[in-house]
């Protein structure tokens, strides 16, 4: 579980040796702690667009130190790059090269966030080229950033303002330590139904959340994070994991529901439990998942079916029950755990990748249904996360898996949990049908 190498190259002799030999030096990431400031140091807002001005004004109201022009050699906490008005690839030069001049001043664990519009077939060819250009630019820049700094982009659908609640929530997420392991990613804001959190430290206060697979690993981290953010929890795991589930439930003051989610009536049992104890259900986190790796040539029916059944068929069935339930109507949120394996594929994981790609397909197709109830559904796709499961991977393969991303390290279960908590929040209501990767910009899968 512990990344010994990362500890070694961040201290004393190890740091010097690694530097001289040109070895990877994964940074110690700034991760969110309650009470932590959103960002340390001034925020530079680059780009001469109306939205840039609006954002600068908004950030001022957050009590941040905002700059519209760079002050040479002043350490910056973040750079926000407004590219929302580019209509020709030539338009990229000015804002991007202005930002470039400030890159060396970006503090360790700094943030770069682009704000842009999506390229679509309805655009003029030049506008589409410029808008799509942002994609390649940001993904490349994220790979150049060092010292735990990340680069991510907010894509505003036509008609959505940069200061709409969910765009601001996304910006807050990307600036904060909550997004420590999210790098090189774009998040599209398509609606205005987000509601800003009354208390930014308790964005889930009063919300009733269900987390499946909560007995350990990422699921237990999700439970802890949602609890910290104020949610009341119902924790689900298979009966055989009940002792660990009870321990997590007692830690986060939730209730333990021992249930095999692949049972036909799993959705009804979850809803019945939530209705009995809380009178409703607001957030469903589909985290439970299994791997049964085998090369396809050696794949048997049991391995294939168990993975499909638990990782995607169960989610579909539970969502169907939720969508039909009157108890799931108060700004409902569904967040599913997908995987980068479902994006890039992984040798030996045809069943797993099929199930996880299936999750992403399901999420996109369920978005409209959730919107009909004033809700949203999104997925996170974790990359290499330090868990008991990845600790069992052979050493060499594990080391490669860890380092093959822009942050040169594995993520923590809490990193996945933070992203889920964000997508489950009221403020993220305008984000629907999206898949956000939590992978440190893993080299595989774009």
């Amino acid at each position: 579980m512990t990344d010994t190498y990362a500890q070694l190259v961040n201290h004393g002799v190890g740091r010097n040796v690694a530097r001289k030999l040109g070895l990877p030096q994964p940074a110690v990431l700034r991760r969110y702690q309650p009470g932590q400031p959103l960002i340390t140091g001034p925020v530079l807002v680059q780009g001469n667009t109306a939205e840039a001005d609006n954002l600068a004004a908004e950030l001022l109201s957050w009590d941040l130190d905002v700059r519209r022009h760079a002050v040479p050699r002043e350490k910056l906490g973040a750079i926000i790059l407004a590219l929302d008005e580019v209509s020709h690839p030539g338009d990229l030069e000015k804002p991007i090269l202005s930002a470039a001049a400030s890159l060396r001043d970006l503090a360790p664990n700094g943030r770069l966030v682009t704000v842009s519009r999506p390229a679509s077939e309805a655009d003029s060819p030049a506008a589409a080229a410029a808008r799509q250009g942002v994609d390649g630019f940001l993904r490349s820049l994220a790979k150049e950033l060092r010292g735990g700094a990340t680069g991510n982009g907010i894509v505003l659908q036509e008609g959505i303002k940069a200061t709409s609640p969910s765009a601001l929530a996304a910006l807050r997420f990307f600036l904060s330590g909550r997004s420590a392991f999210v790098d090189g990613q774009f998040l599209t804001v398509s609606g205005t139904s987000g509601v800003p959190a009354r208390d930014p430290d308790k964005p889930l206060a009063g919300r009733i959340a269900v987390v499946t697979g909560a007995a350990r690993g990422i699921g237990a981290a999700i439970a802890r994070t949602l609890h910290r953010d104020g949610a009341s929890l119902i924790l689900v795991d298979i009966p055989a994991a009940g002792d660990q589930l009870a321990a997590v439930a007692n830690e986060v003051r939730g209730t333990a529901l021992q249930l095999d989610i692949s049972r036909d009536d799993a959705g009804q049992r979850i809803i019945a439990h939530a209705a009995q104890r809380h009178g409703r259900l607001d957030i469903m986190v589909h985290n439970a998942g299994i791997t049964r790796d085998k090369l396809l040539a050696n794949m048997d029916q049991v391995r294939w079916n168990s993975v499909i059944s638990i990782n995607i068929a169960a989610q579909l069935r539970i969502n169907e029950a939720l969508l039909a339930s009157e108890y799931f109507r108060k700004s409902p949120r569904i967040v599913s755990v997908a995987s980068t394996s479902g994006i890039a594929g992984n040798r030996g994981q045809t069943n797993y990748a099929a199930s996880k790609a299936g999750v992403m397909g399901m999420v996109r197709a369920t978005a409209l249904l959730m919107a009909g109830h004033g809700g949203s559904i999104n997925a996170v796709a974790p990359g290499f996360i330090e868990t008991d499961m990845t600790a069992r991977i052979p050493f060499a393969v594990r080391e490669i898996g860890r380092r093959l991303n822009s942050l040169q390290q594995g993520g923590q279960p809490a990193d996945v949990a933070e992203t889920i908590a964000f997508l489950a929040s009221d403020a993220a209501g305008g984000i629907n049908g999206e898949v956000l990767r939590v992978c440190g910009q893993n080299m595989v899968g774009a």
Partner: protein, 451 residues
């Protein structure tokens, strides 16, 4: 409002203080750890470990973290002297509020059911609003004591003042005094083990080997089916790698059971019918039951499965052979049902603890016996018969095992769930009867009704 003290509950029924109980005590649910065969997965677990685990699972199931429960009562039959405050220590080690009071109770195998009855009565009286009943036993981690000779020497040595006195005390010590004593299952007044006592009763009521094996087979089959159906998903929390009862043999058959050699009543020759298959093994485990007043359950958004209607204890004179050691429930049940104007036909589910298959069958035989009904129960004829399809429908001790004090809690919670489900399906009140026999010729029975 935040009070860092201990709030008081208001009067139960304003203006009725001191009047007899008028409110219900309900079973909200239960939790137990899977039962393990002695020397198995829980061999290194103490009673305190297991009871705490069962409590923590209950707390997690119902979200009772930091809750101040009215009272917790539990007990163990095989108990270390250091566990004088076993239940309170388990509470302190659990996620409950440290301000939850607790007491230990001991009534042999009826311990668990008696904690349910006692706490339910306190709730009915308005003394408490919530309670957790329970029990635990470890046959693996059994207390071993020093011999009486050694014990006397040690105590006298402690009182001796001078070196000569000490030497004189020590000189009394004999090699045989150094042998440790393990707890036995023999009745102190007869020297017979429980199995040998039951063998006498089995022979008296002419209970056949086949009937005993069939009852044991049904117990395993019913318990396995209940696990498969997910019945225990909200009744059992795994512990130490065990997620189902270690004694359960889902694949057992009447043929396999028929091959086992008798272990009790061997002096009866061909009349020996009791085997390891139709007798409960020594078992480790713990169980808990959450009880509450209806108002408390409602205020905490908790389910109400069944009411604890009433209970009855009985004892028999087995020492002089008037009745079998485990036959006390035969007398307790008719008294309990008569008090409510009920007969066996009014009971939808029977939970008769399977100390031995023959115990259940002897009990049923006595109730069906005309003469016994007239001469011993004071009835006009036989007390009645039990519809076998209503008996131990989710398995009982032969399959699950029998950690003595934990059995009552296992049965009470499972039966309450069964009653609630049946009532929901049938749309009518459903009654259940629990019967537990105990050492010393005792028995405790209880009547539950669905909510």
């Amino acid at each position: 409002m935040s009070i860092d003290g201990q709030t008081t509950a208001g009067p139960v029924e304003p203006g009725k203080a001191g009047t007899p109980a008028t409110r219900r005590a309900v079973i909200v649910g239960g939790n137990r750890i899977p039962f393990a065969r002695a020397g198995g997965q829980y061999a290194k677990s103490s009673n305190l470990d297991m009871l705490t685990a069962a409590l923590d699972g209950l707390i997690a199931r119902f979200g009772l973290q930091d809750e101040r429960i009215g009272e917790v009562a539990a007990g163990a039959v095989l108990k270390h002297s250091r566990d004088f405050n076993l239940t309170r220590e388990a509470v302190l080690g659990s996620a409950l509020s440290a301000e939850t009071p607790a007491y230990d109770l001991q009534q042999a195998c009826a311990t668990g059911l008696e904690t349910v009855v006692g706490l339910a009565n306190k709730i009915k009286l308005g003394q408490i609003d919530s309670a957790i009943a329970g029990g635990v036993d470890s046959a693996s981690d059994a207390p071993i004591v020093v011999s009486e000779g050694l014990r006397e020497v040690i105590l006298d040595l402690n009182r001796a003042r001078t070196l000569p006195q000490r030497l004189q005390v020590l000189s009394r010590l004999r090699p045989k005094d150094l042998a440790p004593l393990a707890p036995g299952t023999a009745e102190p007044r007869t020297g017979l083990s429980m199995g040998e006592h039951q063998a006498l009763t089995t022979a008296q009521w002419k209970v056949s080997r086949e009937a005993q094996d069939e009852l044991a087979f049904n117990s395993h089959r019913n318990l396995a089916a209940a696990y498969e159906a997910g019945f225990f998903d909200d009744l059992v929390t795994p512990y130490r790698g065990l997620s189902r009862d270690g004694n359960l043999r889902a694949d057992t058959s009447l043929e396999k059971l028929a091959t086992l050699k008798p272990v009790f009543g061997k002096n009866l020759g061909a009349g020996a019918t009791m085997t390891a298959g139709n007798s409960t093994p020594l078992t480790d485990g713990a169980s808990t039951v959450l009880l509450a007043s209806e108002a408390w359950a409602d205020a905490h958004d908790l389910p109400k499965l069944a009411a604890v209607v009433d209970a009855e204890a009985a004892a028999v004179d087995f020492v002089h052979g008037k009745d079998g050691l485990l036959m006390a429930p035969v007398f307790a049940v008719p008294r309990l049902l008569a008090r409510h104007g009920l007969t066996l036909a009014d009971i939808d589910f029977f939970e008769i603890h399977e100390a031995f298959a023959a115990t259940v069958l002897s009990t049923l035989a006595a109730w069906e016996d005309e003469e016994f009904g007239r001469t011993r129960l004071g009835l006009e004829g036989a007390f009645g018969s039990v519809d076998r399809s209503r008996l131990n429908v989710n398995g009982s001790s032969l399959a699950a095992g029998h950690p003595f004090a934990a059995t009552g809690g296992r049965i009470a919670a499972s039966l309450a769930k069964q009653l609630h489900a049946k009532a929901g399906a049938d749309g009518r009140p459903v009654r259940g009867l629990v019967s537990v026999c105990a050492a010393g010729g005792q028995g405790v029975v209880a009547l539950l009704e669905s909510l």
